[in-house]
Symmetry: C2
Subunit: 116 residues, 2 copies
Amino acid sequence: MTKLADKTTEVIPSQGYKLEEQELSQLLLQLNDWQIDQSTPEQQLVHGFKFRNFSEALGFTNQIGELAEQADHHPSIQLEWGKVTVRWWTHKIGGLHINDFILAARTDQAFEEKGQ
Amino acid sequence: MTKLADKTTEVIPSQGYKLEEQELSQLLLQLNDWQIDQSTPEQQLVHGFKFRNFSEALGFTNQIGELAEQADHHPSIQLEWGKVTVRWWTHKIGGLHINDFILAARTDQAFEEKGQ
């Protein structure tokens, strides 16, 4: 099976395919501790990453920025001292698309490589 | 009168000086449309800056990061496509310190210089 992070993101039509609850649960298992935030108007995939200081957190923000630009799909990133919270979702379809899981997996991958 | 952005930030003792309502109102006048968010556990100075795309927003995030590192005082920055929301406050004193206004003024200055 192709690793989630290695999958190609799809071009999203304005009426794209929104994932169902069962699919969401299965895809979540392929990520490291991401949650689905149900409190926002549109479901979002969210995860907080910890760092030793502000500078490392900013470095990671830039890495995610690069991933986002490459895929032309952009998250919301909250940057604080020692912490980066990343949220992926697809505004066009008002929820979660496979692309969000692919980008979340790439975010995990970037974080793991940083620690090596 | 020294411009707010040119003032030197103070070292904050653990029992630092928290600004009073009247001082907050006067200092707010020296900033460009910042708001005081009262909905957070600690008062925060907040302002959203708009950009043409994600890349410009990320560039501004890095500029603010540089200001923060120079002053050793760090905000919360929310980065989205075309928008950066900056929040300054001083956790040590549980609210707003003159340093937060100085850094907010420097944030304004960085934004203005970007537009030139």
